[in-house]
């Protein structure tokens, strides 16, 4: 089930809100757990058992690690942790990467093993990472052990963040999980506005610019002129950001309605002035996960430049492959690894000396080209697309179709460019500050914002045969 659907907004959400808030506090986590299971099972019920297995295993291992540590059996605790990590990675390898591994072996060695063809369980990359963060943190003593299976299950399966993140580490919400009075009016109202903003980003902005990207990709790439190729690449650049960050906004907003505070996942990544900064602003919960559980344990930057380069490569290979079981994602990860290393040791100093707008341009150029690699599971398409972008296919700079697409999407592109910066937020705040805090005008403005997005988004959803969701594959 996705949030931006008639089903979620007008069946699931009202029922879960109603039952959750009329239930006594003691059983609210249970209700959230049950609804989350239903949410996950929708459309693909078998994998709910996989998730329950994962929950039960890591819950049990968490208890065991805690017990071993208290009894002074450090080695046993470590062994238990290794089991947890191995099983989680095993689940991920089997359900997500089996086809990829077999296919790669076949093409490398010329063998013909049949592909297992296992359908990908939704959100598996997210929940295995969350459960691992829990056992590791219990082992490290970074968080307390969760004594109740229900509470642990609620954490892993919690529907707002279940299928597309943010990757919430257990320690972030450990206390809120147990807190008796976590829900409050402040958070709920905040959550409502955040949720509506996310719906608008996803349904009105991401889906619509996605049409432009699809239009360009439907053309024979060998004849696409430079400007059109860039238009397509920019369209995808905006689509993936507004899609994914919109989803994170909806998740954070929904979390707040139920009294949970997830960490921010995006901080205007496209205004970054270096690749290093871009990755501090993009999918923050994923990069922090890798930093905390892979990069630093590998030694980070503490064992000399050579080791650091090695560590960065490992992390970025993994980041790449985490995004999907195809070689293009590996290439995309390594591509970023290379730029991060270059920035660290060579480029960084030069880039800093450039004027600000050139720093932006440099960053965006690398990011946009990166998205082309990311978008195309087929390397030859990526190659043709990049050739078109840099005029190597001899199809000219633009044609009448370019003009048509430009003026059709001019307004949307303008909104997207603006929306990628922090300006709308600042202007919005300035506008609200013109009026009395909590006064009628302010209230009306906020209500108009929510209701406006609601009406237009529902119109698009009712019409929509077009509501794909990009982060489903991961």
């Amino acid at each position: 089930m996705v949030f931006s659907s008639i089903l979620f907004m007008f069946r699931f959400l009202p029922v879960v809100l109603l039952l959750y808030f009329i239930a006594p506090r003691k059983i609210r986590n249970v209700i959230l757990f049950l609804f989350s299971l239903f949410f996950y099972a929708w459309g693909e019920p078998k994998y709910v058992f996989l998730m329950l297995f994962s929950i039960t295993m890591d819950y049990t291992i968490g208890q065991a690690i805690d017990r071993f540590k208290k009894d002074g059996h450090r080695k046993r605790a470590k062994a238990a942790l290794l089991v947890s990590i191995a099983v989680n990675l095993g689940i991920l390898a089997f359900f997500k990467y089996a086809d990829f591994i077999v296919g790669s072996v076949n093409s490398l060695f010329g063998t013909a093993f049949p592909l297992p063809g296992i359908p990908l369980p939704i959100g598996i990359s997210f929940f295995t990472f969350q459960t691992m963060s829990y056992t590791i943190d219990v082992y490290r003593g970074a968080t307390k052990v969760q004594k109740k299976w229900i509470n642990y299950g609620t954490y892993v399966s919690m529907f707002p963040q279940l299928i597309a993140g943010p990757i919430v580490q257990y320690k972030t919400i450990a206390e809120q999980m147990m807190q008796k009075d976590r829900e409050n009016i402040d958070d709920f109202a905040c959550g409502v506005q955040r949720f509506m903003a996310g719906v608008g980003k996803k349904v009105l902005l991401a889906n619509n610019i996605g049409l432009l990207c699809d239009t360009v990709l439907a053309m024979p790439m060998g004849n696409v002129p430079v400007a059109t190729a860039w238009l397509g690449a920019l369209a995808y650049t905006f689509q993936i950001y507004f899609d994914f960050s919109g989803y994170s906004d909806m998740a954070i907003g929904l979390g707040k309605m139920f009294g949970f505070h997830f960490l921010e996942n995006f901080e205007h990544p496209y205004i970054a002035r270096s690749i290093t900064e871009f990755w501090r602003r993009w999918h923050i919960s994923l990069s922090s996960w890798f930093r905390e559980y892979v990069y630093i344990p590998l030694g980070g930057n503490r064992h000399g430049a050579l080791k650091q380069v090695r560590n960065i490569f490992i992390v970025w290979m993994l980041t790449g492959i985490w995004h999907g079981a195809h070689w293009n994602y590996v290439l995309w990860g390594v591509y970023y690894g290379v730029f991060l290393i270059l920035e660290k040791f060579v480029l960084g100093k030069w880039v800093k000396k450039l004027p600000g707008w050139l720093q932006n341009l440099y960053t965006l150029l690398i990011v946009v080209v990166g998205w082309v690699i990311f978008k195309c599971e087929d390397f030859s398409l990526a190659g043709q697309w990049l050739r078109a972008m840099f005029g190597a296919n001899g199809a000219g700079f633009f044609n009448s179709e370019t003009i048509y697409l430009l003026y059709n999407y001019a307004l949307l592109l303008f909104v997207l460019i603006l929306g990628s910066t922090s300006l709308p937020k600042r202007w919005g705040e300035r506008l609200l500050n013109c009026f009395r805090e909590g006064g009628t005008v302010q209230t009306l403005l906020k209500c108009a914002f929510c209701a406006g997005i609601f009406v237009i988004s529902v119109a698009y959803l009712v019409d929509a045969s077009y509501n794909p969701f990009l982060y489903f594959r991961f």
Partner: protein, 379 residues
């Protein structure tokens, strides 16, 4: 305290929107059919362990609630209005063209595998027909769509797939003497209304021009346009394209051409029902008013006309033929027409039983390119 009130109002509004819309949906009775979209709406699927675990139930349930969403038509109108307000010249693959025309873009129709295969199917079939019925007695007409003929009305710089490329390829593939170039005929009359503004069909007038040119080329006697009286039968027609964009797009009128000298005829519908009038006047009371001609799509209709002609015509066609066929009643004593999409018999066996003198294959370009049942020509 003030802040608190603001938050309560926002929450109240949100709950009102979510719960209000949900309640309105639950309280609205389920509809079986949408006149506007001319299709059956999804119904509440049956819940069983099998349907649940296969995911079938989830899929069907989602189509059900989307199809049955309260005020569906108005919501789609809102979406189109927003789309137009933001400067978009198209919505759901339809151009907002000049003079109130809604013109289908047909993205991808002509480049698919079906489009490719249908060309060779038709070429083989026409070859065989020309051999069987003789030169000049087998014709293929693939009418261009509005997007081609009304290209002057498209938004500036719009560049849809060029149908001519596809039509030229068909013309090239067909045996000599079987292709009739309807586009060339229609080009001469672009000052007239050749297509409906809100529907994907050509007008009766357009069909008439093509018919006249065709019979003249085939040297059949025919009444000229003076031989008909044009009659407007409705001015409240909104066709299939309108249903896809909604909103305020205006109406079309439908004309019929009544011959001044009308020969009596008998029509047998699908081998069961006999009718004396080709017009289904009840259709004018419904949404799909184009069904005025022969009551819409039928697998097979056999028409016998008492006009003394010794020529008997079989037409293999899609719905573009519906307003075209009445003209043939002047020149052929037998006019049978088969719609391959619904006709489930062997075409060859059917043709052997009847004694036709002429064969006509009549489709519109995008319909031909997209229709998988054209493959039945080989049967």
């Amino acid at each position: 305290m003030k802040k608190n009130r603001q938050q309560r109002v926002i929450i109240g509004l949100f709950l009102l929107l979510i719960f209000g819309t949900t309640a309105a949906n639950l309280l609205t009775p389920t509809k079986a059919f949408s006149d506007r979209e001319n299709r059956n709406l999804a119904q509440m699927p049956e819940l069983s362990p099998e349907s649940y675990f296969s995911g079938e139930f989830a899929k069907d349930y989602e189509s059900y609630i989307t199809d049955q969403f309260v005020g569906r038509d108005q919501w789609i109108g809102v979406k189109t209005a927003v789309e137009r307000a933001t400067g978009k010249q198209e919505s759901n693959d339809i151009y907002f063209a000049k003079d109130g025309y809604l013109i289908e873009k047909h993205t991808g129709s002509f480049t698919g595998a079906v489009a490719e295969r249908n060309i060779s199917c038709l070429a083989a079939f026409m070859e065989e027909m020309q051999e069987t019925y003789g030169k000049g007695h087998a014709t293929a007409i693939i009418a261009p769509n509005a997007v081609k003929l009304l290209e002057d009305k498209l938004p500036p710089y719009a560049s849809p797939y060029d149908e001519d490329i596809y039509l030229d390829r068909i013309a090239e593939a067909l045996p000599e003497g079987t292709w009739f170039d309807s586009e060339a005929v229609l080009r001469k009359h672009t000052d007239q209304q050749l297509y409906y503004r809100t529907d994907h069909h050509w007008t009766t007038r357009a069909a008439h021009y093509v018919y006249e040119a065709w019979v003249r080329e085939r040297e059949l006697s025919s009444l000229y346009i003076s031989g008909y009286e044009e009659e407007t039968v409705t001015e409240k027609f909104q066709g299939t394209i309108e249903a896809k964009v909604g909103g305020d797009v205006g109406y079309d009128s439908i004309q019929i051409f009544r011959p001044k000298v009308e020969y009596p005829y008998t029509l047998v519908y699908n081998r069961r029902e006999t009718k004396k009038d080709l017009y289904d006047w009840d259709a004018l009371e419904k949404k799909d008013k184009y069904a005025l001609f022969f009551g819409g799509n039928q697998p097979i209709i056999e028409g016998t006309i008492e006009n003394g002609s010794d020529r008997r015509l079989l037409v293999i066609k899609d719905s573009y033929a519906h307003c075209f066929l009445p003209f043939a009643f002047q020149d052929f004593s037998q006019v049978d027409f088969v719609d391959l999409r619904y006709f489930n018999e062997s075409l060859r066996e059917f043709m052997e039983k009847k004694d036709y003198t002429d064969i006509l294959f009549l489709y519109n370009a995008s319909g031909f390119a997209e229709d998988p049942s054209v493959a039945k020509l080989a049967q």
